[in-house]
Amino acid sequence: MMTAQTILSPHPEEPRSGVSKDAPARSETSFETKPPASPQDEGCGETKPAYNYAYLDEQTKRMIRRALLKAVAVPGYQVPFGSREMPLARGWGTGGIQITAAIIGPDDTLKVIDQGADDTTNAVSIRRFFQQTAAVKTTEATDEATIIQTRHRIPEAPLNPGQIMVYQVPMPEPLRKLEPREAETRKMHAWAEYGLMQVKLYENIARFGEVTTTYDYPVLVNGRYIMAPSPIPKFDNPKMHMSPSLQLFGAGREKRIYALPPHTSVKSLDFDDHPFRIQSWTEPCGLCGAGDSYLDEVITDDHGGRMFVCSDSHHCETRRGQGHRGAMLADASALHLVEETKP
């Protein structure tokens, strides 16, 4: 069997272990995240790895950091990067996780949301990953976070300068559904040949009277690149435009990184006679009464009963804390959506 121990020295072509800055991290910054091997696993109990801070090795972080700097220099352009295999599944946020791991430090406070909520299962799982590997401070409060990793939503509260949004991206190529071959879509971006996208949107209008894309709605960035905003609802698209915060996008499986610096033009594609419009609801949030937030539909019984609640769980809680009450707040505790606490 080949093990690291039997190999003697670096190869000139490979990263040199003798390079001074790649010295192992200090002992207090390494994390044992693997349980010890069970005694019955004889013949296998050799080395248990101590992972680097934020899991990724330093060479990998440098590679991702270099890609990020090129990404902010060319907003909306997808930079190919050497996406690593992660201990979480592809399609489950490995692109966002790699970006967060490459940027996070001891001064950061991390918020992780999925579907707008801090307590959805994958958000919990990713937050635990960084608590374990980076011992990082976490929060559910949007305004306390320095880094917000998200899947499918942008928080309702306006973001602040200095905050960094990290989006998990499944399909970074906005043209992929029109042209499956990467070799072709890369050329279309290179020459800004976006006619196919216009045709597709217009066919949509001809058939349904409007553009029927409701999420991952394509945008034009800085007047140059068409970009996939990740599967956020188109409701959130306007929040990207001229946002004061830095927005970073990571697609792990597809091995692409892209970015929007603060104050960058992000225009949702539309036509003069069919302007872009966002979703709206006829009723407000049942819990906090908000009439301007993105709502999730909750089925309350099997006789057609339903209520609508804010998808941004922190936003909803904040509003309730300020005394806003939705029409169904009292009923909601029966559904275990909220719990009444005695003052």
Partner: protein, 210 residues
């Protein structure tokens, strides 16, 4: 090459000092024109500003060929980068991932470095321009991504024609080099996406803001 004992120290805490340096670089290039301070204590070799040394420590390695002026390459700076980064120092500027130039000298021109390709505009050189100062020079108005309206910068000691080169580089967008101006422990980012306007309407009060 110098013996190792004469090479100054790099990062004392590579993991966190690299991270802090990178965040300064990320802020610099995502908000062009803002001054970002690199706080990690290193002993830069002769010829490199502290911020230049810190940026290369944070970003460069065996995968990133670096172009230095011949004097720097053959002196302590070259030895320092080889030792700490394991980086290859190359002679052809068009092959460089990173380059360090002196902003005051006439050569090399920014156009000698790689601007990337149509399909891979990311494959361009990041040029670190060492300056005599990051303020007090001729003021220039910037606009573009990362800048809410406009932003003024006034780095000092840059060759005449430097801003014309930067403006020409921005014309190539989305191709082009990305610049990091460096002096002492401070940097200013000037990515290719930044537009350069004429300097006339800069007032001293506005300069104070940045």
């Amino acid at each position: 090459m110098l013996p190792q004992s004469q090479i100054g120290a790099g990062f004392s805490d590579p993991v966190f000092q690299s991270q802090a340096a990178f965040r300064a670089l990320l802020a610099a290039l995502s908000e062009p024109g803002t001054r970002q301070v690199m706080t990690s204590p290193v002993t830069p070799p002769q010829g490199l500003e502290a911020a230049t040394a810190i940026a290369l420590l944070a970003l460069a390695d065996y995968e990133t060929p670096i172009w230095l002026t011949p004097a720097l390459r053959d002196g302590p700076a070259g030895a320092w980068l080889r030792f700490h980064c394991g980086a290859t120092l190359i002679e052809n500027p068009a092959d460089a991932a990173f380059a360090v130039i002196d902003g005051a000298t006439d050569a090399p021109l920014l156009s000698t470095f790689s601007i990337g390709t149509d399909q891979f505009p990311d494959r361009s050189t990041t040029v670190i321009v060492q300056c005599a100062g990051l303020e007090g020079g001729r003021s220039v108005t910037l606009s573009g991504p990362g800048i809410a309206d406009t932003r003024l910068v006034a780095p000092d000691g840059l060759r005449s024609g430097f801003w014309a080169e930067v403006a020409a580089n921005a014309e190539l967008y989305p191709l082009g080099v990305d610049l990091v101006l460096s002096h002492g422990n401070t940097i200013i980012g000037l990515p290719r996406s930044t537009q350069i306007a004429s300097p006339e309407h800069a007032s001293p009060e506005m300069l104070e803001t940045y």
